[in-house]
Each structure stands twice: as C-alpha cells, then as structure tokens.
Amino acid sequence: MITALEYGFMVNALAASLLAAIACGIVGVYVVVKRIVFISGGISHASFGGIGLGYFLGIEPVLCVIPFGIASALAIGEVSRRTRLSEDSAIGILWAMGMALGIMLIALTPGYAPDLLSYLFGNILMVSRSTLWVMLALDVIIVTVVCLLYKEFLAITFDEEFATVIGIPAHKLYLVLLCLIALTVVMLIRVVGVILVIALLTIPASVSRRFTNDMRKMMGISIIFAALFAITGLYLSYLFDLPSGSTIVLVSGVVFLLTSLIPSGHNFKY
C-alpha cells in the first residue's frame, strides 16, 4: 500500500474512498432502516441520464449528475403520491427512462465516449483533484443536513404517519432525504459506478446494524465499514490488477456474509 501511495492517483483514490464512505455510511443507514433500497436504486440508475446530458452538452458529467439526480429523486418522491401508479412501478419506469436517456444522449454526442464504462462500474483511479473538492462539499452538505434534521428524520423514518399528525412536514422532509441519497449517489458513481452504488448504500449499514441498536452509532460504524471496504477493495484491485469498483463491492459482500454468520445479540433480518 505504501508503494502504491507513491502514485498521485492512488492518493486521490484513497481520499475519494474516505469522502464517499462518510456519505454512504450516514445516508445508507436511512436507506436500510426506512427500506428504500429500491428507491435508491432508481435514483442512482436514473442519474445516468445526467451523465449522458453532461457528455452531450460538453459539461463535466459529475456536475451534471447533481441537478439531474436531485430532479430524479424529487420525481420519484412525487410521482407515486400524485398519480394512481403504485410506487414501485413509478420507480421502475424512472429507473429505466434515466438509463435509456443517458445512453441515447451519449450515442448522439459526436465522437467516442472513452470512459462510459467507468460511470457504469466505477473507476476510482480516475478521480481528479477537482472532483475531490466537489465530494468534500457534498459531504459537508450531507453531514450538516443530517445534524440539523436528525430528530425529524428519525421521526419520519420510524413512523411517517404519526410524524405528519403531530405536525412535522413529513413529506417535504422525505424529499430532502431522497435528495441526500441523490447527492450520495453522485459521490459513489466515481467509486463503484451507477450500477453498483446500491451495494455501498446497503452493505455497510446492514453490517453495522448487527453491532448496535442505536442509529447514531450505526452511522459511525457504517462509515468505518464503508471506508474499510473501499480501501481494502482498492488495495486488492491494485495488487491483482482488478477493476476497482467491482473489487470493492465483492469485498463488501464477503464481509457481509461473514458477519451474518456470526451469531449476534441483535438478531434482526435485513
């Protein structure tokens, strides 16, 4: 690992892993306890449309994904409420439409899209210094919002209906939460790619659930696991010349399996 760090891109990759771990450690806990894994998958796949749009307009794709991801999150949050469509159908439709739009826009862009696969499956070795600053800013936003709205988020994730009755703007806060997921997705796209994002949103949080019954502690433990998964995966991919995104996801999966074999005091299914 020390020799690996002599390469500038490895230092950037390591920094990106840690920054992404903070976001997915915190937001992943909400995804897991509120059981909105499918919604998060929808947001991440729909975000691919933003990457396509970035290519098409000639803007840095990551910057284009932020507004696009937030728009997808709001659309998913609103569509099922305003139409007669069931929520999972709405998510499924937006999921596929976003992906299709992205691929269409890339196809319409003159020239060859060299790092298309890196957005689908991640390539953390390509993270630039400017992307790191964007990631840091997103972390600051996510941590600030969660600190300010911790008690409200706890109330709406535990019982949205009760929260509404006692006067919390539950649906608006739910949309805020979906936007935080969209921002986390933006950070994770660089690390593991659109398709594998869901692994880092669910595995660290699910593993941490086995160690505590407290949501705050869960977030802390989940950040640590996310960072461990990313760094271990990164190192193995460097050592054996493997694709970094899928190595990180497979490492997470193996650890998840191992921890689920250990008998635990908090014997709950996720």
Binding site: E161, M218, H266
Partner: protein, 249 residues
C-alpha cells in the same frame, strides 16, 4: 353538555369505486370513552384517518376542536396499530416516545421540557424501566404502552387508538383498559376494535361501524344495529347489568 371535541357531519369516503364510509355523523365530547366496533374492512381505520386529516372525505364535514383537522390534529394523540411497525428498527423506547415531541422547533434538539414530558409519559404507562430497550424487544402489550406514551408526550386532548388490544393476552388487556380508564379523566378516548366483548366492558359509549355508523350517543347498541353492521345475526352474551351492551329484548 360538555364541549364537542370531534364532529363528523355526513362524511362519505370512497377508495376509487369502493365506498368505505357512507354518511357517517358522529360527535365526541370531552371525557367520552367511545368504543367503535365493526368487522374487518368496515372502515374503522379510515374513520380514524379522516379525523386525523390523513384521508380527505369526498363528502361531508370534519371538525376537530371546532376547526380544520389539519390545523388542530396536533391536539390528537394517535396510537396506530402497533403490529404494523418495523420491529427491528434501531430505536430505543425513550427515542420512540421523544418523537411525540419532534414537532417542537424544527432543526432544534429536544429541550429539557421535552425530555421531562417523555419521561412522565413513560411513567404514566408504567414503562419507564424499559426506556433504554430497543422497541422490538418488548412484548406486544408493552409496545402498545410505549406508543400510548408517545401520543401522551405530545400533550393531546383526545386519544385515538386503532385496535389497541389485538394480539395482547387477556390479563394484560385488563391492565391496559384500566390504564385507559385513568387517562379518560384528562381526555376523550376513541378506540376502534373488531373485538366486541373486549370493548363493551370498558367504554362509556359504543358505536358500530360497517361503512355506515350505528350510534345513539350511549352505551347501548340495538340488536338490529349490530346485525345491520355485521350483516348477519350476532349472538351476544349479556354479562349481567354492569356489562350490558344490548337492551333487554
């Protein structure tokens, strides 16, 4: 006559083409303990949600403390069916009860006053000793008490309970109704249940709901009302005078 806390006038609700409530009128007064019984799918939960402003009626009017339910529902303590909760949710008993105070000042932490109210609510329901426990690691009856404490923490003037006794064994149920009997001195209580006998012994007024509401502002139900609501002859065993539900007939 005491103050009317909740009033429904000719309320009808449809889900798509299916009528759920038809022409329901109901007045609930201070210190009432109203039991609403009726078969599953008879619209009991919908009726509570109409009162709470969670379901908008297609016809009719709902008044909560003389105003719009959306404005005044914060005076209602809502106790939903506890069995519908995610029992593995990582939250302690104390934090569940504190969410009853969560509307106080968005963006702020809980105050000492909030914590005091949560604590005394837990004391009232006799669950203070379990405050650190994860919610899923309690029995059904204990969880039900915690959800009542959560509603009480919001300092309600009326308590709405949805099937509170479902899945709780008979001995615990008795203690539970005694608790509600004590709470009734401070607030009106409305409880819906599909279990006729459990309700009839403890409430002060009883109504029967199956799309239409059969209610005479008293503890007596007419045999024909019950039959109309359940759409079949209902055999009721009279429990002697204090527990009588049906008029002699």
């Amino acid at each position: 006559m005491a103050e009317e806390v909740i009033g429904l006038r000719n309320v009808s609700v449809r889900y798509g083409d299916m009528p759920v409530l038809e022409d329901v009128s109901l007045s609930i007064y201070q210190h009432d303990f109203l039991g609403i019984i009726g078969p599953n799918g008879g619209g009991k939960t919908t009726l509570l949600k109409v009162i709470l402003g969670l379901v908008k009626p297609d016809k009719g009017e709902v008044r909560v403390f003389g105003g719009d339910p959306l404005q005044n529902r914060r005076y209602i303590g809502y106790v939903p069916q506890y069995s519908l909760f995610d029992h593995s949710f990582p939250i302690s008993v104390r934090d569940v009860v504190l969410t009853g105070r969560a509307r106080q000042a968005l963006f702020k932490r809980y105050t000492d006053h909030d914590r005091k109210l949560a604590r005394s609510a837990l004391e009232v329901v006799g669950m203070l000793a379990f405050k650190e426990r994860q919610i899923g690691r309690l029995s059904g009856g204990q969880q039900q008490r915690v959800f009542i404490a959560r509603a009480l923490a919001a300092e309600p003037k009326v308590l709405l309970l949805d099937e509170p006794a479902a899945g709780i064994d008979a001995r615990v149920q008795t203690e539970f109704y005694e608790l509600l009997g004590r709470l009734r001195q401070k607030m009106a209580i409305v409880m819906v249940s599909h279990d006729i006998t459990a309700v009839s012994v403890h409430v002060s007024k009883i109504a029967c709901l199956n799309r239409r509401l059969y209610y005479h502002d008293s503890k007596e139900l007419l045999a024909e009302d019950l039959e109309a609501a359940y759409q079949c002859p209902v055999e009721l065993i009279a429990h002697g005078i204090p527990h009588r539900v049906l008029r002699e007939h």
